[in-house]
Symmetry: D2
Subunit: 349 residues, 4 copies
Amino acid sequence: MKPKVSVIGASGYVGGELLRLLLTHPSVEVKYCYSRSFAKKYIHTVHPNLRKKSELMFTDEDPVSIASQSDISFFALPHGQSSKIMQRVLETGTRVIDLGADFRLEDPEDYKIWYKFEHPSPSLLQKFVYGLPELWAFKIKGARNIAVPGCIATSAILSLAPLAKMIQTTAIVDAKVGSSGSGGKPSPATHYSERFGVVRVYKPAGHRHTAEIIQEISKIKGEKVNISMSAHAVNMVRGIQTTTHIPSDDIPDIKELWRQFRQFYSNSPFVRIVRDKQGNNKYPDPKFTIGSNFADVGFEIDVEGRRVLAFGALDNLVKGAAGNAVQCMNLMMGFDEEEGLGYIPLHPV
Amino acid sequence: MKPKVSVIGASGYVGGELLRLLLTHPSVEVKYCYSRSFAKKYIHTVHPNLRKKSELMFTDEDPVSIASQSDISFFALPHGQSSKIMQRVLETGTRVIDLGADFRLEDPEDYKIWYKFEHPSPSLLQKFVYGLPELWAFKIKGARNIAVPGCIATSAILSLAPLAKMIQTTAIVDAKVGSSGSGGKPSPATHYSERFGVVRVYKPAGHRHTAEIIQEISKIKGEKVNISMSAHAVNMVRGIQTTTHIPSDDIPDIKELWRQFRQFYSNSPFVRIVRDKQGNNKYPDPKFTIGSNFADVGFEIDVEGRRVLAFGALDNLVKGAAGNAVQCMNLMMGFDEEEGLGYIPLHPV
Amino acid sequence: MKPKVSVIGASGYVGGELLRLLLTHPSVEVKYCYSRSFAKKYIHTVHPNLRKKSELMFTDEDPVSIASQSDISFFALPHGQSSKIMQRVLETGTRVIDLGADFRLEDPEDYKIWYKFEHPSPSLLQKFVYGLPELWAFKIKGARNIAVPGCIATSAILSLAPLAKMIQTTAIVDAKVGSSGSGGKPSPATHYSERFGVVRVYKPAGHRHTAEIIQEISKIKGEKVNISMSAHAVNMVRGIQTTTHIPSDDIPDIKELWRQFRQFYSNSPFVRIVRDKQGNNKYPDPKFTIGSNFADVGFEIDVEGRRVLAFGALDNLVKGAAGNAVQCMNLMMGFDEEEGLGYIPLHPV
Amino acid sequence: MKPKVSVIGASGYVGGELLRLLLTHPSVEVKYCYSRSFAKKYIHTVHPNLRKKSELMFTDEDPVSIASQSDISFFALPHGQSSKIMQRVLETGTRVIDLGADFRLEDPEDYKIWYKFEHPSPSLLQKFVYGLPELWAFKIKGARNIAVPGCIATSAILSLAPLAKMIQTTAIVDAKVGSSGSGGKPSPATHYSERFGVVRVYKPAGHRHTAEIIQEISKIKGEKVNISMSAHAVNMVRGIQTTTHIPSDDIPDIKELWRQFRQFYSNSPFVRIVRDKQGNNKYPDPKFTIGSNFADVGFEIDVEGRRVLAFGALDNLVKGAAGNAVQCMNLMMGFDEEEGLGYIPLHPV
């Protein structure tokens, strides 16, 4: 009998993407789709792509009860929600994959700084593994609880990781993101006539994902690094691109960078190193990742400008959320890492 | 050993989409990717989505020779090319699935009228089956050669078929199409700055797909019907939507239409009847089909305006081309009809 | 001293566009910008394009009081609002240009049929002139109160008017519209992630603008005509395109159509007849009208399909609303018809 | 009699935008529109927005001859073209406004470094004034020859100028640009299906506009500064946005930055300082500048990340090219600086 999985927070975009992947995953069975607002509606009424693919309905049964009946519980709730009930959830014995932010940071102090949030159960933080398989596969394999990274953080960390040791004074992440990261709830900021065609600086400093990037890259470097990030909304629904600018007095040559990236990602089926000499795809571009679990990474040097550059691109709902969560599940459960994640990106789209 | 399939014309968008589907199809093996212009290049240099999914290269080996080594040969060439060599191709004993227009029309005269083209091998027309499984599954199962319908034709025919008998004086198809149907070759009409944001009437009358629509709907109705079509380019890459206006003196009620559609498509796994009472998906919209082999169909009545309306929506590269071709292959080869075509559409995208 | 104009309903997109045009109009002075929700805020906080162009603030002073201090009062309110207070407004002696629907239809019965609305002051309907200068310039010149046509109606009527006498059994308008016509209020239907990339059939039958089209084309034809309309939302912010399909047993030749259109619009500075033999602009496309008061119209014949086609394209906020309103004001006030409306469309955009 | 102006290179997008502005400029008369490829065609065949606004035709008369008959000659040619003939052009006595790159850099060595180009007439460089009125109005007023800045450079320089003295080790410009800056010639990179939806790193280092930014900001700072730039193509036709990251050990407070910007631009009618506390327009966004000559600038501090940020946004064809050129012409000719440039941006668009 296949393990049973449930999605708590199944009516959002991340929840819907989890369902797209889990419904066709060969080794698990979807048990519950929790949504308070849409209880007793067919899931395709909210996720029209699922029409004719599933007869499941949303339920508003208590999440702890759902967890108690599930081998794996995916949480895709707004920040601050899952930590309120996590103690009771863990007591049910379910494995947890949390796609929210509540268990990503290891130091409870960081929640105060970046989230202005007093963590309600700081002692649980150490029970979660940061779910980035390209860095922590060995931990994930032995874990019972996973905190899935933020979407921008995933792009930034994966592109920066092989260069972590080269960071001198600072690294500056300039992120460009699609609208789906803002979720499915209408607001003035996401009103089509206002959101279409923008290059909107929506979070120039202090973006919460910055904390994760600092945490993870500092671990690799072996000391606390200064990293900052600015986030821009651009005219697309899916996709994240990050260009990270690393001021440097000691520019490596391109071959050396190739070597670093190749070595770092020699065992990473979902990372593609993109650096072509010609064409439209010389560097990572989210356009070429849509629908897939790929994270594309790349690099460049600017001798005149005294910079090293790292590029990342991915589909924020897949490798930036649901796909990465499924990848973590595969590792944790001993499935093949790529199982249920064989989707080739769409092109053109 | 799995049957070997080859793609002749593998560097275009339809060819690329065939590769996306065939590379992950469990029952076939991709043997050759023919492209004269890109011979000896990795297929991912042209189709960046395929990076890390295949090490195949394009070849410029003679297509007839390729066909002779292939159990199934997919042709995705510009109109007029496959018919030039088809006699020799068929002599190799390969099965053929032609995604071009050369074998879609049964009457050679229609090529003169609609294509201004004297067909070079009219006697071969009868050796091909029109590859629309929702209408001709039984023929496709016994066929060796398939002519895959045009993308607009597929949307129009599938949405009109259940209503064919209701057409009185005429049916008028108003089509809205994405850019990918125009292929990958740059031109003034597809220059981004010119193509972005248009609602461009690019073929108000005489569009070649009209011939297929008339041919197929007339067969269903049992007599020649007058159908016309106008094609508009709109601001998207993938997708086709058709609204067909059917003037009528005898408007059926909605329940009757539901009954017709349900009955007609009771055995069609890739057709979804879309007619919701609320939400953003009341009628078919290509947005909810992207990446999948679904054709969504729907209907409405306009009592005041004395019209019946039929709606169709699909991804022009999948159900409008490559996906439908694979569906035909599945039927012809005795595979499960849905094999390799389980992709759920992306949402949002 | 210049005449004083006020805008009642100044915070919506139509209100904003009125301000864009009126603030630079050489012959009038903007006096009041009424908005209940944004009273005491600078107008540029809602209309960011107006930053540094005006220091005006919204007011929530009573509209009747505003009208009493204004030579011309523009109303840009949701349907049903202006008719509630119009009797008192007219008593102030102000001239009225209403951009809503409340005074467009001449027959109060039509409001019941199309708007499910019992008109509160049917006797006032005859005090308003339908503000389409290309048809009714002579009436507008002598009018004190104008009802500005709906945006889709304007495109459909202007493209159909020269052909009105050719309509036999029916004319079917297939409209494609941008998002700005839905206004500035967030909703699930206009949430960016859901609205982006659609071809959404949002009103296949019974669209209220149909009533205006029937009213005006019937007047030209001299008898009641059957016209129906289907409206589709497409992936753009500004712009409307209409393709009208006219089944016909008696197809005119192209020269005759050229003659009809040239004659009909020989004195219409804002109508462009677009029918080129090549290029990207063979037929009207909203892309080439953005920001301007132009309505582009064109035509085609389909001999095989037994249709005549009429095409219209315009910027829904300009010729479809605010620009047309200013054009009416110019005529009514004896200004030059083109005054303040010299904007050339942007290209590319 | 009004001064006569001609446009050499009138068929490109910058040429078309010059015509849009010059045809409605009250103080000049357009004499010649030079285009070798489109000679004897109406200008609206290439610039469909100009239909019905002008009966001018393109000419292929010799540019030097055109210059000799023009009071002011605008050059909008590809890089390297105008410098070949400039000596002879200047001898005609015409004033020159060059929108290309050939006379922007003061040091001929810089052309070797950044353009890999041996300047054919280095002695002419000193005869041109860098046409950025916000910095050099007094020079432009006395000039006869103007080199109009590059579009990305304009956004970067205007947003950085008030902060020039704060730059310590480096300033890093991250630019996001629309497609129209690539011109009107089809290419694989600008093929709609490939260009739509991208976040494409098209020039991560060594972009030629960097040279201008260094030149101008170094002049303000009083010493050579290190500035680098990375350019990204995003999903829009018009518009440029630049976020400039300035690592700093000494973060100023926001009030101080307000003071600097207000003081710097106290006499600049086309610069808007955008820094709101809420809404969709907190920082500069090209969406709110489309069609106008505004450059929006803004700033932020990141105390945690030890950065100062400068933001710029403009319409690349207006303030980034043609509008700025007209502004220079106004100053040079003694017209009002804002003459013919009163266009309010479109919103929404």
